[in-house]
């Protein structure tokens, strides 16, 4: 209980108001031997720091600055219902004393929010002889709870801060720890925007090695090493690498047997690289994008070509630098020789801290004329960042002899014509009117199909009708009757118009008898009027219709007795028509 309160009290001084920051400088020791490193740590702590500028170191005439690194940790605290992002950034500088005696590290400055914060000066007593640490610190200290600063850091380093465009920069990410790590996974890879990336090393698994830094034993593991070639100029930022880490904490008491783990996000500092654009003045025309040191050689695989056989011209650019970004060198025209597009091969390896190797361009040369052909010197220019100027190198001239080219060219001819190349065919000429071509038919295409189905239906119906005509006598008579009825009625009408009463009556009688016969399937020719009426009665035809028929037939029969006067023929005709339609 007491212990907890003590820890709380320890935390207390770091409680800061929003907008305020703490800026403190500390060294790992105040007594050091000449040439022995002193670690200067500048701690910036505060809420919502965001992007913070690097602190400014004072002039340090008594020290060499060996290296710098930063580490950062963020915690989110809930206070009063609000979440507050708390950041702690360590700027770590390795200083090497240059002279014996009392050396002072002056106040370091940090600008934040319009205010300048300063640290207290620190004096270092530099001894002549090395003061090896009498008691090496325990490599794996058992930490009580919080992870002490400096015990865990992800360092991001570059070998160069400022390079020319296309010049190599090496970036390394290394994890240093003095704690026991339970688990680790990659949170975020750094983004190398604006660079051509050439990986050198990527840790496949985590294997810690040990190294003593400034007398402190660390477990360290290199995570990533990459060569970068900037392709744009300006200030380029490489975003930090992030790791998710679980730290094993030693048991607090007896019951906490296995201990607990604390997970956190470990973030490296972002890296800034200033890329100087390549000078534009005095840039030779043969410049092919190379930055570094290169040499050029060329060779031919044969010096005699028979029957227009291609000869391979190999141009090899070897050296160190951005080999993969080299473009093909321009080959000067060789009269009488056709130069085809090259096949490109490259081989690059990382050695002596830089990429070196070669890029080979294999140009097939096809002689078109006999005789000796000379391949002129091929020049390339590159930028030498060490000398800070463009340099031009060139190959020696080569020559080869071609024979029998004419016969070979003839072989490629078609019908006595010399085929010298190929291209797409020429565009279509102007037209008076550009017609709209249909891609596909519209919905109206459905019409013919519906029509076809209707046609099939109709012909099937007709077919059925035909077969019924053959097999069904009654149906056939019925079908025939309508046609006959029409012609008979017409005949009767003709006689009516011409006022020939006798003929009219005969025709009308034929109309009625014919219709009745066909309609009721009766052989009327062989029947008298009475037997017809009888037959109709058998078929249960309504009495009024039968009476009407009887009357009409009687009227028609009056033609045989010349004296009697019959009813008006026009009325009879209409009556007959009406009766037929009712039957």
């Amino acid at each position: 209980m007491l212990k907890r309160i003590g820890r709380f009290l320890l935390l207390f001084p770091t409680v800061l108001l929003a907008g305020e920051i703490r800026f403190v400088a500390s060294v790992d020791r105040t007594e050091a031997g000449l040439g022995e490193p002193v670690i200067l740590t500048l701690v910036v702590e505060g809420e919502e720091l965001g992007q913070i500028a690097n602190p400014k170191l004072p002039a340090l005439p008594d020290f060499n600055i060996g290296g710098t690194s930063t580490s950062q940790s963020t915690s989110i605290q809930m206070a009063g219902g609000k979440s507050v992002r708390r950041q702690l950034i360590n700027f770590i500088y390795t200083l090497y004393p240059r002279s014996v005696g009392e050396s002072v590290i002056g106040p370091c400055e940090l600008e934040f929010g319009g205010e300048v914060y300063k640290t207290n000066p620190i004096s270092i007593n530099v001894l002549k002889s090395g003061t090896a640490p009498s008691q090496p610190k325990s490599p794996l200290p058992s930490t009580g709870g919080e992870v002490p600063e400096g015990d865990l850091k992800l360092s991001a380093t570059t070998n160069r801060k400022s390079v020319y465009q296309g010049e190599q920069v090496i970036v390394e990410y290394t994890l240093y720890t003095r704690l026991r790590l339970a688990d680790m996974s990659l949170g975020e890879l750094p983004s190398f925007n604006g660079f051509w990336v050439e990986p050198i090393f990527d840790a496949q698994r985590i294997e810690f090695k040990r190294r003593t830094i400034d007398g402190v034993l660390y477990d360290y593991c290199q995570l990533k090493k990459t060569a970068l070639f900037p392709v744009t100029s300006g200030q380029l930022r490489i975003s930090p690498m992030k790791l998710n880490i679980a730290v094993l904490q030693s048991p607090r008491d007896f019951f906490d047997f296995f201990g607990t783990t604390k997970t956190m996000v470990l973030e490296s500092a972002p890296l800034f690289i200033t890329v100087i654009p390549l000078p534009t003045e005095n840039r030779p025309g043969e410049f092919t994008g190379g930055v570094g040191e290169f040499s050029i050689t060329s060779s031919l695989d044969r010096d005699l070509s028979d029957a227009a056989e291609p000869i391979n011209l190999t141009v090899r650019i070897a050296g160190s630098g951005n080999i993969k970004l080299l473009e093909k060198p321009a080959i000067p025209d060789i009269p009488g020789v056709k130069i085809l597009n090259p096949e490109i091969k490259e081989s690059v390896r990382f050695a002596d801290n830089r990429f070196q190797g070669y890029k080979e361009f294999n140009y097939p040369l096809i002689p078109q004329t006999d005789g000796e052909h000379i391949v002129p010197a091929i020049k390339i220019a590159f930028f030498n960042p060490k000398a800070r100027r463009y340099e031009t190198v060139e190959t020696s001239t080569l020559k080869f002899t071609a024979t029998q080219t004419a016969s070979a060219v003839e072989l490629a001819q078609t019908g006595g014509l010399k085929v010298t190349g190929s291209d797409i065919r020429y565009i279509k000429p102007d037209v008076l009117h550009l017609a709209n071509q249909r891609m596909s038919a519209g919905w109206w295409l459905l019409f013919p199909y519906t029509f076809a189905f209707v046609m099939i239906g109709l012909s099937l119906l007709y077919r059925r009708h035909q077969s019924r005509l053959l097999s069904d006598r009654a149906y056939a008579r019925k079908v025939r009757s309508s046609r006959l009825l029409k012609s008979r009625l017409n005949e009767a009408r003709r006689h009516l118009v011409k006022n020939r009463e006798k003929e009219f009556h005969a025709a009308l009688s034929r109309v009625l008898l014919g219709y009745i016969g066909d309609r009721y399937n009766l052989e009327v020719g062989a029947l008298t009027n009475e037997s017809i009426i009888e037959a109709l009665r058998d078929r249960e035809i309504e009495e009024d219709k039968i009476a009407e028929l009887e009357y009409l037939l009687a009227q028609c029969d009056m033609r045989f007795s010349p004296d009697t006067k019959c009813d008006d023929p026009g009325v009879l005709y209409e009556k007959a028509k009406k009766l037929i339609s009712r039957l």
């Binding site: 102007d430 550009l434 071509q437 596909s440 295409l445 012909s459």
Partner: protein, 242 residues
């Protein structure tokens, strides 16, 4: 009413004239080697008028500018409209040979020959032919039903076989439209195993690769190359043929 229709007619005529003029302008640009300007002119014409000449000339202009994907796309459109045009077929083949990716034609020669035979007529032509042959066959069938002569039966079988041929041709063209075929129009695209940037790269395809799109999801399309291999690419690197 009549005035309105006359006005509409005049407007249409004007429209047509502009397209024709633009087409001629595009041709003039092409002759001067101003392919970019020619592309702009032809593209505008192609928005108004569907004509294989326009697509063909557009394809030529894109080819001259080194935009293989766009060239192949337009040659394919032109070929769709005029499949018997020798120039279009030649240039389409020529442009395909210029591609970085050498994707072998996996089809058997018999299948290739069949496709050539069935695609001898364009979709519209085959639609008209198949329909009129179908109508004719139905007429013959009706005659057969009515008159029951053997000759109509033979004629019907002959015509229906022809009609079937054009129906297959029709279906083969329809597949071109409905099968969501696309052409890669970016210089180089890496196809990944999932729809997004953080998946494993499976294959790198280049300008002009002709692919079929199986599925699209959130700005990414699952493409398949003729060999069957494929992956997800951003949809803005593709352009559908239809």
């Amino acid at each position: 009413m009549t005035t309105a229709s006359i006005c509409a007619f005049l407007l249409l005529a004007q429209f047509d004239l502009n397209s024709n003029e633009l087409y001629r302008k595009g041709n003039a640009y092409y002759q001067q080697g101003k392919y970019g300007e020619a592309i702009v002119a032809y593209e505008q014409v192609s928005e108004e008028i569907t004509n294989s000449r326009v697509f063909y000339n557009l394809g030529n202009s894109y080819f001259k500018r080194g935009m293989l994907g766009k060239a192949i796309l337009n040659f394919r459109k032109a070929h769709f409209l005029s499949p018997r045009d020798d120039d279009i077929a030649y240039n389409l083949d020529f442009a395909r040979n210029y591609r970085v990716d050498r994707i072998a034609d996996m089809r058997s020669p018999i299948l290739a020959l069949l496709s050539k035979i069935f695609r001898f007529v364009s979709l519209f032509e085959t639609q008209l032919l198949a329909t009129s042959l179908f109508l004719f066959s139905i007429l013959l069938l009706s005659l057969l039903l009515i008159y029951r002569r053997k000759i109509f039966l033979y004629a019907f079988i002959g015509v229906i076989v022809l009609c079937l041929f054009f129906s297959i041709s029709w279906q083969s063209w329809r597949a071109e439209i409905t099968g969501s075929y696309a052409v890669v129009v970016a210089p180089e695209v890496s196809a990944t195993s999932g729809p997004g940037g953080n998946y494993k790269e499976i294959i790198v395809v280049h300008d002009g690769a002709e692919v079929s799109v199986r599925e699209t999801r959130g700005g990414y399309a699952l493409i398949q190359l003729p060999g069957g291999i494929g992956g997800w690419v951003p949809t803005n690197t593709l352009e559908y043929i239809f």
